[in-house]
Symmetry: C2
Subunit: 214 residues, 2 copies
Amino acid sequence: MSRSVTWSQTLTFFEDDWHDGNVPIMGVRTHATWLCTSVFDGARAFEGVTPDLDLHCARVNESAKVMSLKPLVSTETWMALAREGLKRFDRDAELYIRPMYWPEDAASGAVRPDPETTRWCLTLYVAPLPKPTGTAMTLSPFRRPTRESAPVDAKAGCLYPNNARAMIEARSRGFDNCLMCDIGWPIRPRRTALFSPASRARASSRSCARQAPR
Amino acid sequence: MSRSVTWSQTLTFFEDDWHDGNVPIMGVRTHATWLCTSVFDGARAFEGVTPDLDLHCARVNESAKVMSLKPLVSTETWMALAREGLKRFDRDAELYIRPMYWPEDAASGAVRPDPETTRWCLTLYVAPLPKPTGTAMTLSPFRRPTRESAPVDAKAGCLYPNNARAMIEARSRGFDNCLMCDIGWPIRPRRTALFSPASRARASSRSCARQAPR
């Protein structure tokens, strides 16, 4: 590791207690470590408020079910833990609030997670909100997976490497972020149509140029 | 966690030393923990041999590049470490040999891994080979992702949750394993054609019944 990593203030509830810093939560044999079966959600705290925290907590429980894990923590317990954790930060701190589930072990064989080994944690850490300075968007050559080829009905970590490479590719062309088309939608929207909510409808019109699938 | 997990004999080289058991390698802030950016490979040891170990070690380095990580370990070093580790097991032990890379932190923002924070380990553990008793295969309603919607050119952990749900679905119908069609290949192979190398060619013939996309 050629860059040493320093973490912003981090507080995590894991295995019945609060921990500071980058507390170890996964071992080399842990299922999620190598087979990427973790799910999470990402709420925010800023200016003393936590918008939709209840919805984020409810959603991570739905994501757990999609990943065949056991949603062991009620929304009320997630919320109570989050409130407890928030007290340890400055009132106006800008935080990321991330509840997580993952399996510790597989069912027979290696690939299927064993829901009876579901583990969880709640982590809160300082992560300043991006400044509203504008964002340069482009259209990615990568695509969003279909429902039948990835668990897109969960907020699953396994969906993010595809997003990561799309962002890397966009950055390589001088953009900050990108849009990805669905598979089977080989249409190139006009560049000027990329930024409005109506872009999708316009881009799918027959007047647009067709783009060969990559 | 309602089932306690006991691990088979496990030996891991991580951060310049050998460790026994499920040694912690990822913390709550580690990029791969929640954004699933780890890659691995899986070689085997049995009857005192390690077939294609060099190819597995070379491949994990290629997978690292696909995931925008730095392949810090030469094939020769992977091989030397594996040989060193193997000495700690019985000569005829049936082992899984897993080299891994993952990013510790993100580049700016959260989603893109920072290759300058690449970490790695080599783990070896007892994992008996399946008995050659036969396998009941079925066709999965799930699909293999396209190259543009997942990093299928890497042995990336993020590809496995889709496989896991396909296997869970197959098991729910009494099968041991399953085949997945590619996206855009809405053809149902004849059941009798599922097990031979020629099945793909036959299944794509126009004589097969069409299957509506799920």
